[in-house]
């Protein structure tokens, strides 16, 4: 036999279930614009039926439904898409940083423009041509000095800019790692809370959303693997090392001396993400660029100095001395020196015009014979522009070598832009797919809301009916004739 109030109980359960569903809908609508929020769904099921012995059923009782109950409230999320998003996000972070660095290097070169290094080179050679026409003219010498100063200055400036870029990147790497440590710490704290709640059999949807959002952010910084662990916790690995181990997190730190990331005190190799981009820029792109620029400086000043300080090269002072004494010794000074020394410059940062030349224009050696208008040396020097000289692994003109450097940076920058655009598109696609699954649709929620409201109303009506039925039973039964 059924209880008298069985109907009321079914009605109550229905009302509770629809109310829960309405609350979930409300929660979804409220969080429609919350970053990282996953839409939730209240799953209902029919509650356990009762056995109902029927009079005409001989072989066993019937089953009678007892209404509805809310089984669980779950997140609608596809962890496969999370993995896709994160692996693209790593690439995006990496190429973001690479593009940034390479375009800064590109900016320091400022080519092709009327005032780039190429133009400084051209003006330097032109000054020698002008000097070769009137080697005795102080105006031509002054023009040469000023163009030589400008050229050395351009090299110094490139070196300074790259030094600044290096320092900036190192600071950024340090800050980024602090940010990452902060995020991993939050993940481990969320892990702890989630574990506590999960242990009691509940599903902490909103905490899991927060955790996923944090992991998304970490994924842009470095290549991480996320693995599920006990009690709803997740472990995060970087290579073989734990970044997050349950409720514990490990700090990553930056070693600016070796441009190396350290995790748990061990050197760790990063493959992608912003941090890998920074470290690659610091250990590959910048050094390879600077070593080429430095090689250009070294070869250029070596070649110029060789001619300028040749045993038969004469400057105006030498010519004067030789007039008085045909065997007077020659100055034979280099044209370019390293700052603060008399030796050949080896890097872009240290090249400067010989201070002796800066203090006396007479010291520029344009002649190879003791006559003021002899331009033997000046002609050799302006010929240098067309001469193939030997670099470490090729023999070419200095102009060509420089253009190769520029072309190389251009191609690398172009590649980084393309890769960045590609990974941006892929991240967006992955995010779109994720949103397609997990995002809140207002239309959908509205439809659900109407649906749940109608059910709620129906359940209420059902309770009224039961009430009337019972009223009839309780207040109207047995009152015959009254």
């Amino acid at each position: 036999m059924l209880s008298t109030f069985h109907g009321l109980e079914i009605g109550k359960r229905a009302i509770f279930a629809q109310q829960t569903a309405l609350s979930v809908t409300g929660h979804n609508i409220a969080n429609a614009n919350t970053e990282g929020y996953t839409r939730q769904n209240a799953i209902t099921k029919a509650s356990n039926p009762l056995s109902y012995p029927g009079m005409n059923v001989g072989n066993g009782p019937l089953q009678i439904g007892t209404g509805v109950e809310t089984k669980e409230i779950n997140r609608i999320r596809d962890s496969f898409l999370d993995g896709q998003f994160r692996s693209q996000n790593e690439q995006l972070g990496y190429w973001n940083v690479k593009h940034d660095t390479l375009s800064k290097i590109e900016e320091t070169l400022n080519e092709p423009a009327d005032n780039g290094l190429q133009a400084s080179f051209d003006r330097f050679w032109q000054s020698w041509e002008d000097l070769s026409k009137e080697p005795d003219s102080l105006a031509a010498r002054a023009a040469l000095l000023s163009n030589a100063n400008a050229l050395a200055g351009r090299f110094n400036q490139i070196s300074d800019s790259i030094d600044n870029l290096t320092t900036d990147l190192q600071n950024q790497a340090t800050t980024k790692m602090q940010e990452m440590n902060n995020l991993t710490k939050q993940v481990s704290q969320l892990n702890l809370q989630i574990a506590k709640i999960s242990a009691s059999g509940q599903q902490p949807n909103d905490l899991m959303d927060q955790r996923d959002l944090l992991i998304d952010k970490i994924s842009k910084m470095a290549d991480i693997q996320v693995k599920p662990a006990a009690n709803g916790m997740v472990d995060i690995f970087m290579g073989q090392e734990y970044l997050v181990n349950g409720d514990q997190s490990s700090a990553i730190s930056f070693d600016p001396l070796n441009n190396q990331a350290l995790l748990n005190g061990k050197n760790i190799t990063l493959k992608s993400g912003e941090l890998a981009g920074m470290i690659d820029s610091l250990t590959k792109d910048i050094p390879s660029f600077m070593s080429k620029i430095n090689e250009l400086v070294a070869v250029f000043s070596r070649e110029v100095n060789q001619i300028h300080s040749d045993a038969s090269a004469m400057n105006l002072d030498d010519i004067q001395n030789r007039k008085n004494d045909p065997n007077a010794p020659l100055d034979g000074i280099p044209f370019f020196v390293a700052k603060g020394s008399a030796g050949d410059p080896g890097t872009a940062g240290e090249i400067t015009v010989n201070p002796l030349i800066i203090s006396s224009l007479n010291k520029i050696a344009a002649a190879r014979a003791a006559n003021v208008s002899d331009a033997g040396n000046a002609n050799l020097l302006n010929d240098l522009k067309f001469k193939s000289v030997s670099f470490s692994n090729q023999t070419t003109t200095m102009n060509n070598f420089y253009r190769t450097i520029v072309g190389d940076i251009g191609i690398k920058t172009q590649e980084s832009i393309q890769m960045e655009t590609n990974s941006e598109t892929l991240v967006q696609q992955a995010e779109n797919q994720r949103q397609s699954v997990s995002g809140v649709s207002i239309d959908e929620e509205m439809t659900n809301m109407v649906k749940f409201q109608q059910s709620y109303n129906a359940a209420s009506r059902y309770i009224s009916v039961m009430d009337e039925v019972l009223d009839k039973l309780i207040n109207g039964t047995g009152r015959v004739g009254i």
Binding site: A32, L102, S103, E106, E107, L109, E111, P112, D114, G116, Q118, A119, F121, D122, R123, W125, Q126, E129, D130, S132, K133, E134, D136, A367, A369, N371, V372, S373, D374, A375, N379, N382, D383, K385, F386, N399, R403, V406, G407, I409, G410, I411, T413, Q414, I417, Q428, E431, N432, Q435, S436, V437, G439, V440, S441, I442, D443, E444, M446, T447, V450
Partner: protein, 292 residues
Amino acid sequence: MRVTQNMLSTQLIRNIQTNYRAMSQSQEQIASGKAINRVSDDPVKSVQIMSYRSALAETEQFKRNAEDGQNWLETTDNALDDLTQVMQKVRELTIQGSNGVNNKDSLDTIAMELKALKGNIGNIANARLGDRYLFAGTDTDTEPFVSGEFVNTNNQPLSWNVGQGVFMKVNINGMDIFNYKSGGLNLVETIDKIAGELEAGKDPQQYLDHLDKQLNNLLAHRSIVGSNVNQLEMMINRLDQTELSTKGMLTKTEDADLAKVITNFTTQQTVLNAALSSGAKAIQPTLVDFLR
């Protein structure tokens, strides 16, 4: 595929961003007039642009050198023209002195005139362009003609670079003119001798021949100067052509095709407007607007 309001708005923002990026690139090209504003825009073309620019600077320099060389040669030619006139005057006077009708006084007058002309020759030999002596070889800061004598012995050429590996000699060696010897006498000495003969009342006829040889030598050098000027003129014309074609190639590689860029820009504007207006319509209504 399930599509949510947020996806629509993200997509809209993303598309508008893409549009703005394209517009900003077109804008940059229009404003700078250049299709390539940084190496990564087109690394190959950038390197080409750099070498064209460099070649242009070279050509301009060679042209300047050639023009300066012409200047030097023309000044030399002017000096040599003066010298020719002086020599012709000397020749006239010599003929006048050797026609046998002159008395002692007039011979002395001719001799004096000749000596004065000799001074002129000294001035011509010390001719300068700026503060540099034209006939002193590479010793341009020392007077080649001192106290009636051409003392310079420097026969080094002033060779100027007017093309890659092409050098033009722009000076005439003073020695070849002022120290050219005919009958063992140079120019000044010949005039001295004629004046001496006249003063002694003799006929200077025998030196007329040497004088003619001097004059021929001078004319020969003037024709060298003339032909060098012509060569430089040709060189300049050729460099002009090179400059023009290099500039043409530079423009073709570097400059933005404005008609194309502006058309692109207009298209991008239209697309942006369409995106904005469709976005405004698509984003607004949801079911909320229709539920009562």
